[in-house]
Symmetry: D2
Subunit: 314 residues, 4 copies
Amino acid sequence: MTTLRNVQPLRGVWNILATPFQPDGEIDERSLNRLLLGVIAAGVDGITVLGVAGEAQKLNQAERRRVLELTAAATSGRLPICCGVSQDGTRVAVEMAQEAAAAGAIAVMVAPPTFLQPGPALTAHLRNVGEEAGLTVVLQDYPPVNGVSLTPTQLAQLADAVPAIQTIKLEGLPTPQRVAETLALTGSSVTVLGGLSGNFLLDELRRGAAGTMNGFAFAEVLVGIWQAWRAGDVDTAASTYFRYLPLLATEAQPGISIAVRKHLLQLRGLIDHSLVRKPGPELHEGVQKDLADTVRRLGALDAFPITDLQEARR
Amino acid sequence: MTTLRNVQPLRGVWNILATPFQPDGEIDERSLNRLLLGVIAAGVDGITVLGVAGEAQKLNQAERRRVLELTAAATSGRLPICCGVSQDGTRVAVEMAQEAAAAGAIAVMVAPPTFLQPGPALTAHLRNVGEEAGLTVVLQDYPPVNGVSLTPTQLAQLADAVPAIQTIKLEGLPTPQRVAETLALTGSSVTVLGGLSGNFLLDELRRGAAGTMNGFAFAEVLVGIWQAWRAGDVDTAASTYFRYLPLLATEAQPGISIAVRKHLLQLRGLIDHSLVRKPGPELHEGVQKDLADTVRRLGALDAFPITDLQEARR
Amino acid sequence: MTTLRNVQPLRGVWNILATPFQPDGEIDERSLNRLLLGVIAAGVDGITVLGVAGEAQKLNQAERRRVLELTAAATSGRLPICCGVSQDGTRVAVEMAQEAAAAGAIAVMVAPPTFLQPGPALTAHLRNVGEEAGLTVVLQDYPPVNGVSLTPTQLAQLADAVPAIQTIKLEGLPTPQRVAETLALTGSSVTVLGGLSGNFLLDELRRGAAGTMNGFAFAEVLVGIWQAWRAGDVDTAASTYFRYLPLLATEAQPGISIAVRKHLLQLRGLIDHSLVRKPGPELHEGVQKDLADTVRRLGALDAFPITDLQEARR
Amino acid sequence: MTTLRNVQPLRGVWNILATPFQPDGEIDERSLNRLLLGVIAAGVDGITVLGVAGEAQKLNQAERRRVLELTAAATSGRLPICCGVSQDGTRVAVEMAQEAAAAGAIAVMVAPPTFLQPGPALTAHLRNVGEEAGLTVVLQDYPPVNGVSLTPTQLAQLADAVPAIQTIKLEGLPTPQRVAETLALTGSSVTVLGGLSGNFLLDELRRGAAGTMNGFAFAEVLVGIWQAWRAGDVDTAASTYFRYLPLLATEAQPGISIAVRKHLLQLRGLIDHSLVRKPGPELHEGVQKDLADTVRRLGALDAFPITDLQEARR
């Protein structure tokens, strides 16, 4: 066990990085780098790699290392990195967390192993991962991926039992209500971040969330809401949220969330291909058309042009 | 078995009627009647009673009959009625369906019994309910209430095997994509309605939905979207949907949906008390405040005043 | 709220009464009475009516009352009665619990409402049911019926928060391990009973269970194991359990448990028809044959003849 | 895509190999080799590595390769090998399947990716894995690990759509009934194997199962039942099954199955340590004691001495 070298709670807008692929299924490193530039330019506070939204569970070990490496290189210390290490075994999760620490990550994100209900085994898992890597643990509460629903009481108990947990990424619905209930139990030592493509960001902030961690394709929108909110400008936060909610809601749909996101990232020119690794649903042709129409109606591409990245594309 | 006397698919906006309660927990018949007038005035195409959103599973037999009776009296034939008869036993469901038919309902809504996966037993259940009552069956696909996830293939197979099923209320996410996939398998003999408080109504219509059946507190919004859509005025449909999406999304949150809805209905003056029968989460005080603020920012109360119902309130 | 008039923890073998039906689906009262005589003659310590195994959720209100009434009449105070009142609404559950109290039941069995995870709402539900009826509450932990998995910690917290809960019917696997973990947290004020057709009865007793509550078709076997165990005769308890385990295991299978049980009860002559109310799987013809063969190999019918009930059959 | 070089359905008793660990958590290769000798000596028809019961999901890539390599070396062609390649991503599963083929495996075992319900995406996943590796696919139906419940209809549809699927490992309860229902739909081109530690082996065979694939600690028992059954000696099959059912049932308990199994393997002397990788429940001390007592009462250690392996232990 090493000393915890960084156990500060996370705040602000953390982008969960998508992993772009080439048509043949290989990681598209050129797109990954462009996407990183785009995300950094959007003004996010941190980058999370190898989350569910990064399709980490569909990457092999070498590919996971490569994504982490490329991200560390692209940010080169300008932005903090959080690395997903959700695994069904403690030992493998610890290995991955140690690799993340070695690559410069300051936090790891951990969801409960599949179907592991709260109890001593889950507590020990989270504790071991944090302690062995010496990093802050972001506890991810996202029932669809592991079948584990954590109540606010259980979230608070875990945060209390595992000092490394300083941030909870709360994605069990209804999130604003549960943010309030959880913070009432954890006190001020822990931050709660929303997720779900920012679908409930305004109300999560109103109930005390310290930001959001998600991969919404227009990170600028999340940054705009967060910065307005933090500056006390609720009107701007609300109007920005209201304006882009059609896209937030569309992207938040379970089952096709990553496909929608990559389609939007491709429309923006941030990645070359919208391919999602198999197995995954094909985005219905009509749904793609509707998505493009919604983007058009909202004027989203014009609002957030990516011309500044032209250079990076070459 | 009686002859199917009405097996027409449902279309348009069907309101799932909330059941208002007094502070002591008794059904608030005065509010129920006022709410019915409001819903009818909103221009809906039909009314669904005793759905999950009507808290049917928290009513006793006498109360369920009373709600049906009051609704039939208030509509007096002006609007068609669909009656929820989701039960874990076929015999009891048939009894309820027959009572619904006797009270004048033209359709029954049936979700699969708790945890009953598709197979001969589920098919027989749905067939028996429809045939014994001689009514159209609306097959409800809403995994959170019964733990049954139906794939588009299974929905189409059930509709094919049970002629009484002419409408599918599709609420398994992602709904627009699944509406498209389901309609591709069912052909034109079956309609698909959305639900989920109208959270994805625009995209459901774009993918072929024939309307929606849900209890959103501002039924006027749903009617506005639907009528514009049907008239080919996509711009109005889209702008109306975009404008009120913050409320649609807030009300659609699983776990607190009915509480949010009743809070909104009370804000509008359509019911006297927002009480939800136990057990159920209390709407967090802060969440109530945020909800009121969102209503104010959208100008929803002014957009849909209920002055026309003053008379009815006396 | 009435005073708790009976808050003693339950012990011993409690039979969950099957509800026999005629071929037309009506309750078969003659068989019900014969079954009651058989169960009483088997030497059980109490009878539980209107459990899942009694198909309570497939009975209407009048039928539920009738079963309770017939059971009270047949036992006429010789045996204590526990009545299932698992309902999704508190108010309806309270009504049923009060009816049970009026009919002479000394306990009610309550499972968490469908998908209601532990929290203040569940605690209040259990408290209200117990207090309003003034009866002991048997907290049923049986995930397959409601989608709620309670950890030992949560079971102990509920028992602590709700004084009326003095018995936990623990049916979440693995039961012997969880009996031990739960009792380590609850102390001596609460008893834990097994269930699951007695499939793990020996090991549940070894880990501290105070008996079992289930509807296994040969209640005599459970009584034999329990009485030997209580008398300190572990060898007899173990050998009896080992001998009949093929039947215990067969009957414990989720999905067809009640069908297997009724088939066995019919083989024994305790009920006239093995009909299970719809929807429910038909017991495969081959499975029926195998079941009869297992009964024959174990000599179960000869070991527990029901000749003493001949009189009652007339 | 390579040509399917081996698409024969599996039959008989296939042992799912446990992965033994040293106290420090490293793979215990000496125990693994001894266990392999024991399993081969027991007379099994094949060996399955890297299943859930082999804790594959808690091994890293190098460890998985090592287990496969050691097993191939120990069997050196005397027994066929099936290799688990259940993964959430198709590409990674294909890579693993190809490695398995290269190492000499003749089959791969694949469970649906976590929460991936049947549909085109699941079909494509299974097809790709089988075709790219050119191996028979054993479709694993085991809901507890991935949240996917496949109905007999869905199992048959998958086997029909994916020619590489020639064997179904059916572990969704109730297994004997579902074996019958599935075989009625698949015809004779597909075999069905049971699992679940052999807890229902007799009745699965009676309903048409072609054997079983599981890791029960006394593989000799399974072999004894299977060989008697195949020889038409139902009496011996039944009496052997009945005699050891207390151990089969105990080991089959979800949540602690692997811990019970390793405890038994250690009692037998087949592995040095019963350690299960974290996270996992500790086997309660009392449960360990009860287990030892049951082994003693059944005389299992004497019935199946492992003296023949003394040499191998050195």
